[in-house]
C-alpha cells in the first residue's frame, strides 16, 4: 500500500541520511571511527569532531526540518492555501530584523542572536495579526497573507537601513545568517530547539482535527461548530512561533515549509494529524540532505543551507506548476 511504503521509506531515508551526515565531512571518517567516537573511544580529535561538530549539527538539521515542515503543513491547511508557508507571514522578515540588528550592533554572547531573532519574529507575527484585524479580515486568510507580505516588506526595508552603515564584515555576517546554516550547532541549541519542537508538535497534533475542519472553508467550519476565528488564530500563532524557533536556531532556511507538505500529500496523506507528523519526518530528511550537500559540494567552503533548499524548491515548483496547467 502506498502509504505504508511512504512511512517506511521516509524513516529509512532519515536514518541513512543522518548516518551519512555524521560520517561524511571535510575530515574523512569511517563508520567504525564514528561508532567508536560516539561511545567515547578512539582518537580525541575524532571524538571531538563527531560529538561536538557533526552530531549536534545533524540533530539540529532534523529539528529545523521537522519544525518547518509541521509549521507549513498546519498553515496551508488552516489558511486554505497550498502555497502558504511560514515565511510569508512576517516570521522571516521579523526574525531577520532582530538578528540583523543584533549583528549590526555587534551584540555579543552566544544566545544574543537567537533571542533577538525570536523576539523579532514574535513581534512581526503579532503585527501581522493586528494589521489583518485592522483591515477587517478577522477570519479571511487572504487578508492575513497580505498583512504578512506587508510586514515582510517593512522588515526588508528595516534590514537595509540597519545594514547601510555597517562595516563589511558585519554585513557579511548578517547575510550569512539570513542564508541559513546549522554550522553553529551546539548541544545547548539542540536541547532548546528539541523542547520547542516537541511542544509545538504536541500542540499542533492536538489541534490537527481543527485544521481538517478549517480546511473546508469558513462557513462550513462554522457550521460544524468550530470557532473559526479563534481556531485560525491559534494555529497561526503556533505555526509562526514554531517557525520562529527554527529561524532563531538556524537562520532562514526557505522552501522547506512550502515543499514538504506537498511531498507528504503526494503520498496520499490527507488528514492533518497524519500530514503534520509526516511533514515532520520528511522535513527532517530534507534539511539533513540539504546540509550534507551544503558541506560536500564546494570544499573548503560551505554553501548556505537556505540556498541549497531553495535550489531544491524551485524545480519542485516548476513540476507542480506543470501539473496545474
Amino acid at each position: 500500500m502506498r502509504r505504508a511504503g511512504f512511512w517506511t521509506a521516509s524513516v529509512l531515508a532519515l536514518i541513512l541520511l543522518a548516518l551519512a551526515a555524521v560520517v561524511y565531512g571535510a575530515v574523512p571518517l569511517s563508520l567504525h571511527d564514528v561508532a567508536a567516537a560516539i561511545t567515547g573511544q578512539g582518537d580525541p580529535a575524532t571524538i571531538a569532531i563527531v560529538r561536538t561538530l557533526r552530531a549536534p549539527r545533524v540533530l539540529l538539521a532534523i529539528l529545523v526540518g521537522a519544525g518547518l515542515g509541521m509549521s507549513g503543513a498546519a498553515l496551508q491547511g488552516s489558511l486554505r492555501n497550498a502555497l502558504a508557508e511560514p515565511y510569508l507571514l512576517g516570521v522571516s522578515g521579523g526574525a531577520a530584523v532582530g538578528a540583523v540588528c543584533a549583528v549590526a550592533l555587534g551584540v555579543s554572547g552566544a544566545a544574543a542572536l537567537p533571542l533577538a531573532a525570536f523576539a523579532g519574529a514574535a513581534i512581526a507575527t503579532i503585527a501581522t495579526l493586528l494589521v489583518a484585524r485592522a483591515a477587517g479580515g478577522r477570519a479571511d486568510p487572504r487578508v492575513l497573507l497580505m498583512a504578512g507580505v506587508i510586514i515582510g516588506a517593512f522588515a526588508n526595508a528595516a534590514i537595509m537601513i540597519a545594514l547601510a552603515d555597517a562595516p563589511p564584515n558585519r554585513i557579511r555576517g548578517a547575510l550569512w545568517w539570513m542564508m541559513g546554516s546549522v554550522a553553529d550547532a551546539d548541544w545547548t541549541r539542540v536541547a532548546w530547539l528539541f523542547v520547542y519542537v516537541v511542544i509545538g508538535a504536541a500542540l499542533l497534533l492536538w489541534f490537527g482535527r481543527d485544521i481538517d475542519v478549517l480546511a473546508l472553508g469558513e462557513e462550513p467550519a462554522a457550521g460544524l461548530g468550530l470557532d473559526v476565528e479563534r481556531a485560525g488564530r491559534r494555529i497561526f500563532l503556533l505555526s509562526a512561533l514554531l517557525a520562529a524557533a527554527t529561524v532563531a536556531a538556524a537562520g532562514l532556511v526557505g522552501f522547506v515549509g512550502l515543499v514538504v507538505p506537498h511531498l507528504v500529500r503526494m503520498a496520499g496523506v490527507r488528514r492533518h494529524r497524519t500530514l503534520i507528523a509526516g511533514s515532520a519526518l520528511v522535513g527532517g530528511v530534507l534539511v539533513v540532505a540539504a546540509d550534507l550537500a551544503a558541506r560536500v559540494l564546494r570544499p573548503p567552503a560551505e554553501l548556505p543551507l537556505g540556498a541549497v533548499t531553495a535550489l531544491i524548491g524551485v524545480p519542485f515548483f516548476l513540476v507542480q506548476l506543470r501539473r496545474l496547467a
Binding site: 565531512g25 571535510a26 575530515v27 580525541p44 580529535a45 571531538a48 569532531i49 561536538t52 561538530l53 563589511p168 564584515n169 557579511r172 555576517g173 550569512w176 545568517w177 546554516s181 554550522a183 553553529d184 551546539d186 558541506r295 570544499p299 573548503p300 567552503a301 560551505e302
Partner: protein, 303 residues
C-alpha cells in the same frame, strides 16, 4: 608699405601659436617621460614636485598613515572613518567610507588630490571626482609589493619622492632583516581566523600571508587565493595547524568554544594572541609587525 611675411599681424599670430605649441609639446614630452607611471586604475600619475597639492583627501588607512610618514600630514584635509593611525590622524576631518565614498563629503573639503583604494567598487567614484576637476590617485595596498609601490607613487604625487624612497627602503630592509633571522628556524603551520560566523580565515591573497612567511611561519590556507576565504571548521582540523593566531577578543571565544576544542592546536593551548593595532593593515610599520609576529611564533629566538 608691405611688411615682409615675418612681421605681418597674421603671421605673428601664426608664429605665436607655433611657439606656444612647441613649448607645450616640450612640456608634454617631459610629462610623457613620467607617463609610464600609472596608478592602479591605469591613470597617469601627476608629478607633484612642480605643483604640490596643498589639500589632500586620503580614503584608505594605509595611505593616510603613509602621508603622515611622508611629512604631508599637514596637507591632509580629509580621511575615512577608519583611519586612526597615527594618532594625529584623528584631527583630520572624517568624510565617511573609503569604499564607495560620499562624493559630496569629499568635494566639500575642496581637495586637489584624492587618494582612493583601487578596488573595482571605487571606479565610479574615481570617474566622478575626475569629472569634478580633482586629481585622483588610485592605489592598491593589499600586498607588501603593493605597499612599496604605493609609497613611491604617493611620493611622486605629493612631491616627496625622497621621503618616499627612504620609507620604502627602510621597510624593505627591516623586513629583510626579520626574514634573515627566521630563515633557519622551524616553520610552524598556522591558521588565522578573522570572523566567527561564517568562519573566515586569512588566505593566500592577504599580505598577512606574506608577512607570516617573513616571520618564519606558513599559513595553511596560503593555497587559497582569496584574502579572507570562508572555510569550515572541519577543514581547519583536516589541515592540522600547529598554532592558531587570533585577536584578543577572538582568543577568548576560541578558547572557550567547545567546537574549537576539536582542533588539536587549541586543545594543546597553542592559541597565539596578536597585536591587532600593529598588523591590521600594511603600513610603514610593516617591519615592526613582522618582528612582533616572529617573536610570537618563535619565543626567545628573535631579538
Amino acid at each position: 608699405m608691405e611688411m615682409p611675411f615675418v612681421f605681418s599681424r597674421g603671421s605673428l599670430f601664426v608664429l605665436l601659436t607655433v611657439v606656444v605649441a612647441a613649448t607645450a609639446s616640450c612640456g608634454r614630452e617631459r610629462a610623457h617621460a613620467d607617463a609610464s607611471v600609472l596608478d592602479d586604475f591605469g591613470a597617469r600619475v601627476h608629478d607633484g614636485t612642480a605643483h604640490t597639492p596643498a589639500r589632500i583627501v586620503s580614503l584608505n588607512p594605509t595611505t593616510t598613515e603613509l602621508l603622515f610618514a611622508l611629512g604631508a600630514g599637514s596637507r591632509l584635509v580629509g580621511r575615512t572613518h577608519w583611519d586612526v593611525w597615527p594618532d594625529s590622524a584623528r584631527f583630520v576631518p572624517d568624510v565617511g567610507d573609503g569604499i564607495r565614498p560620499n562624493i559630496e563629503a569629499v568635494l566639500a573639503r575642496h581637495p586637489q588630490l584624492v587618494v582612493l583604494y583601487a578596488s573595482a567598487d571605487n571606479r565610479p567614484a574615481a570617474q566622478r571626482l575626475r569629472a569634478a576637476g580633482v586629481e585622483v590617485l588610485a592605489l592598491k595596498t593589499d600586498g607588501i609589493t603593493d605597499f612599496v609601490r604605493a609609497t613611491h607613487l604617493l611620493g611622486i604625487a605629493t612631491g616627496e619622492r625622497a621621503a618616499a624612497a627612504t620609507i620604502a627602503d627602510t621597510v624593505q630592509r627591516s623586513l629583510d632583516r626579520v626574514r634573515r633571522e627566521t630563515a633557519t628556524l622551524e616553520r610552524p603551520r598556522v591558521v588565522w581566523p578573522v570572523w566567527e560566523s561564517p568562519l573566515m580565515v586569512i588566505g593566500g591573497g592577504s599580505y598577512l600571508t606574506q608577512l607570516l612567511e617573513i616571520a618564519g611561519a606558513r599559513n595553511i590556507y596560503a593555497d587559497i587565493s582569496a584574502p579572507s576565504p570562508q572555510v569550515s571548521l572541519e577543514d581547519v582540523i583536516r589541515r592540522a595547524p600547529d598554532a592558531v593566531l587570533v585577536s584578543p577578543e577572538g582568543a577568548a571565544r576560541i578558547r572557550t568554544d567547545p567546537a574549537w576544542q576539536a582542533v588539536p592546536a587549541v586543545q594543546h593551548g597553542r592559541v597565539l594572541v596578536i597585536d591587532t593595532s600593529l598588523v591590521l593593515r600594511p603600513s610603514v610599520r610593516l617591519g615592526e609587525a613582522a618582528r612582533s609576529l616572529a617573536r610570537l611564533l618563535h619565543p626567545g629566538r628573535i631579538p
